[in-house]
C-alpha cells in the first residue's frame, strides 16, 4: 500500500468519524420527550447536576439505540458494497437480493419457537440467508466463476426470492394466534425500538466481519476487473468470493435478527461514496461503514421525531428515501 492511499484512507476515516460523532450527539440530544442539546452535552460530560430522569433517558434509552442504529447502518451499507463488488452489479443489495427476506424467515421461525435472540434467532436467520444466497446465485449462474454474470437474471432471481420469502412470512404470521404477531409485524418493518440493552454485546460479533472485509478490500478491487484478471494477479477467486459471501451473510443475519428488515441502506450509501471517492474499495469500505452508520442514525432520528405521537419503524423511512433513488439509478444505468 503506497503512502498516498494510506493518507487518503486516514483522512476519510477521520472526517467521517467526526461526522458520525456529531450526528450521534444530535440524535442522543433529541427524542420524544424533547430536545435538550446543551443539557445532553453536560450530562455526557459527566455533570450529574441535572435531574435523574433526563440522565436515564440519555444513557439507558437513547444511547443504546444510537449505537444499535450505527452498527445496523454500517453493516448494511458494507453488505451492499460487498455484494455489488462480488456480483459486479451496482444494484445488488442484501434486501433486494432476498437475503434479508431469507434471514427474516429463519428469524420468525425461531421467534415462533420462542428461542432466545442469541444464539437461537441469529443461527436460524443465518441459515435462512445462506439458503437464499445459494439459490439466487445458482439461478443467476454466477456461482464461482464460469458463466458471465447476468445483471437481469440476478435481480429477477432476487425479486422472485423476495416475493417468495414475503409469502412464507405472511403464511407464518397468519398461522400465529398469539399477540407475538404484533411484535413480529413491527420487527418486519425494520424497527430499532424493540432492542434490549442486554443485546448490545451481540453487536460486537460484527466487528471481526468488518475487519475481514477491510482486509479483503484489495482483492475486491481486482475482482471488479473480472475473474480471469483477478486470478492472473494471483488471487484465489473461489476462496475469496466464498469467504466474502459467508462473512457478509453472517453480518447481515446478525443485524436482521436484531433490527428486522431495513432496506436500501446498502444501496444508497455505497452509491453516494462511489460517486464521491471512485471505485477503490480500500477507501469505500471505511467510508461505507462510517457513512452508513451516520445515515441510519439520521433516519432513526426522523423516525422518532416525525410522528406527533409514537414513532415510525425506521425501515419505512429508509425505503421512502431509498426506493426512489433505486429507480433513478435504474434509469441512469439503462442510458
Amino acid at each position: 500500500m503506497n503512502t498516498s492511499i494510506g493518507k487518503r484512507i486516514l483522512l476519510i476515516t477521520i472526517l467521517l468519524s467526526a461526522l458520525l460523532i456529531l450526528i450521534g450527539i444530535i440524535a442522543i440530544a433529541a427524542g420524544s420527550s424533547g430536545i435538550h442539546f446543551w443539557e445532553t452535552l453536560a450530562i455526557m460530560a459527566g455533570k450529574n447536576g441535572t435531574d435523574n430522569a433526563t440522565a436515564t433517558i440519555i444513557w439507558q434509552i437513547r444511547l443504546p439505540r444510537v449505537i444499535l442504529a450505527a452498527f445496523v447502518g454500517g453493516s448494511l451499507a458494507l453488505g451492499g458494497l460487498v455484494f455489488q463488488a462480488l456480483l459486479r452489479n451496482p444494484l445488488a443489495e442484501p434486501y433486494i437480493l432476498g437475503i434479508s427476506g431469507g434471514s427474516a424467515i429463519g428469524a420468525i421461525l425461531a421467534m415462533l419457537l420462542s428461542l432466545s435472540y442469541f444464539p437461537g434467532v441469529t443461527i436460524f436467520s443465518f441459515t435462512g440467508s445462506l439458503l437464499v444466497l445459494a439459490f439466487v446465485t445458482a439461478l443467476a449462474g454466477t456461482t464461482l466463476g464460469n458463466t458471465m454474470l447476468s445483471r437481469d437474471s440476478l435481480l429477477l432471481g432476487g425479486v422472485m426470492m423476495n416475493a417468495f420469502c414475503a409469502a412464507v412470512i405472511m403464511f407464518l404470521i397468519s398461522m400465529t394466534r398469539s399477540f407475538q404477531v404484533q411484535h413480529i409485524l413491527y420487527w418486519l418493518m425494520g424497527d430499532l425500538a424493540t432492542m434490549q440493552k442486554g443485546q448490545l454485546p451481540i453487536l460486537l460479533l460484527v466487528l471481526p466481519c468488518f475487519m475481514i472485509i477491510f482486509m479483503l478490500a484489495r482483492p475486491m478491487n481486482l475482482l471488479l476487473l473480472g475473474r480471469e484478471t483477478a486470478a492472473a494477479m494471483g488471487i484465489n477467486v473461489k476462496n475469496i468470493v466464498m469467504l466474502l459471501l459467508i462473512i457478509t451473510s453472517l453480518m447481515v443475519s446478525i443485524i436482521v435478527s436484531l433490527s428486522g428488515l431495513i432496506g436500501f441502506v446498502g444501496l444508497v450509501i455505497p452509491h453516494i461514496f462511489r460517486l464521491l471517492l471512485g471505485p477503490d474499495h480500500r477507501l469505500l469500505v471505511p467510508a461505507c461503514l462510517l457513512g452508513g452508520a451516520s445515515y441510519l442514525i439520521l433516519c432513526d432520528l426522523l423516525a422518532r421525531l416525525l410522528p406527533s405521537s409514537g414513532e415510525l419503524p425506521v425501515g419505512i423511512i429508509t425505503a421512502l428515501i431509498g426506493a426512489p433513488l433505486f429507480i433513478v439509478l435504474l434509469l441512469r444505468n439503462r442510458t
Binding site: I61, F179, G310
Partner: protein, 304 residues
C-alpha cells in the same frame, strides 16, 4: 338477592379490614411477580385504557400522571399526557414523567417493554384479569395499591349486586337462545370460550355459538348459515363500519334464524372490549336483549 353475594361481600370486607401487611413495600402482582411498590404512590402511569378507567372508578385520578393513546373513558382522561399506545409504548416519555409506579396489563403490553421499564428502576404492577371475578380482584388489588380500599370494596359490592340480579332473573328462564357475537367485520370474527364476551353471554342466559379453544375465531357466511344463531350481537366497532352497514350485511342471509326473526342488534363496543367494571353494564345490555320479557317490564315495575 342471593345470599352468597352477601357472604362474598362480608368476606371481602373482612379481607380488606386486615391491617395493611400486604401493601407494606412488597406485593405480588397478578402474573406472580414480586415487586417493591411505594407506600403511597403519587405519580402513576397507566399503560392501558382499562387501567385508566379503573383508577378513575376508584377516584384516584389525582395520582395519575400519564395514560395511553386510546384512554378515552372517562373523557377527563384525554387531557392527561400520552405515553404512546398500549402495544407501542414510548419508554422515553414514560421515564420523563418520573413515575413511581407503572400499571401494566399482561394482555396487551408487550413483555419486553415491561421488562425494559423495570430495568430502568420503575416498579411495574401487572394485572391479568381473565373473567369478571378477576376484574373484581383487580379492582381490589389496585384499590390497595392506591390506598382506595373503601372505594374498591364499594365498587366490587356494586358489581356483585348487579351480576347477582341478572343471574337471579335468568335462573328460572328455560329458554337459552343461541348467540353469535360479531366483534369484527370483513372478515368476520367472533369470541371463543376464553373471553369476557363468552362469560357475559353465558351469565345473561344464552349459549355462545362460537365457544371453542380459539379466543377470536374467524368465520365465513357459510359457517354462520350452519351455526344458525338465534340472536346476533354486533360490536359497534366492527371493521370501522357504520351500524347501518353492519346490520345490512346480515339482512340478505334470511335463512339464518336471527335474520328471519329480526333479532340482530348493534351494541356499544366500549362496554365489551375493556376488562373493567363497565362489563357489568354490558352484561345487563346482553341480558335485556336475550330475555326482553324478563327485563324490560321488570325494570319498569320495580326498582330494587
Amino acid at each position: 338477592m342471593p345470599r352468597n353475594v352477601h357472604i362474598i361481600f362480608f368476606l371481602a370486607v373482612l379481607f380488606l379490614l386486615q391491617p395493611g401487611n400486604m401493601f407494606a413495600g412488597t406485593v405480588t402482582d397478578q402474573v406472580g411477580r414480586t415487586l417493591m411498590v411505594p407506600e403511597n404512590p403519587q405519580r402513576v402511569v397507566a399503560l392501558a385504557p382499562s387501567i385508566t378507567e379503573i383508577i378513575y372508578d376508584l377516584g384516584q385520578e389525582d395520582r395519575l400522571v400519564g395514560v395511553t393513546q386510546y384512554s378515552t373513558y372517562p373523557s377527563e382522561a384525554q387531557s392527561l399526557p400520552r405515553v404512546g399506545s398500549y402495544v407501542r409504548l414510548d419508554i422515553e416519555k414514560i421515564v420523563a414523567l418520573k413515575p413511581d409506579l407503572c400499571l401494566a396489563t399482561k394482555d396487551g403490553n408487550p413483555k419486553h417493554i415491561v421488562d425494559k421499564i423495570v430495568n430502568l428502576g420503575i416498579p411495574v404492577y401487572v394485572i391479568n384479569p381473565r373473567n369478571l371475578q378477576q376484574i373484581m380482584d383487580t379492582v381490589t388489588g389496585l384499590g390497595s395499591l392506591l390506598h382506595a380500599e373503601k372505594a374498591a370494596s364499594k365498587l366490587v359490592f356494586e358489581m356483585e349486586k348487579r351480576i347477582g340480579q341478572v343471574q337471579e332473573r335468568v335462573k328460572n328462564e328455560p329458554s337459552r337462545p343461541r348467540v353469535f357475537f360479531q366483534i369484527d367485520a370483513e372478515p368476520l370474527f367472533s369470541a371463543g370460550t376464553d373471553t369476557f364476551i363468552h362469560e357475559l353471554i353465558e351469565l345473561a342466559g344464552g349459549i355462545n355459538t362460537t365457544a371453542g379453544e380459539v379466543s377470536y375465531p374467524r368465520y365465513t357466511w357459510e359457517d354462520i348459515i350452519v351455526l344458525q344463531p338465534e340472536i346476533v350481537l354486533i360490536s359497534s366497532m366492527a371493521g370501522g363500519l357504520t351500524p347501518e352497514y353492519l346490520l345490512n350485511s346480515w339482512k340478505k342471509w334470511d335463512l339464518v334464524s336471527a335474520v328471519k326473526n329480526d333479532r340482530i342488534f348493534v351494541v356499544d363496543a366500549e362496554l365489551f372490549d375493556r376488562p373493567t367494571p363497565r362489563l357489568v353494564q354490558g352484561l345487563e345490555v346482553i341480558a335485556a336483549i336475550l330475555h326482553p320479557e324478563l327485563f324490560v317490564q321488570d325494570g319498569k315495575k320495580t326498582e330494587e
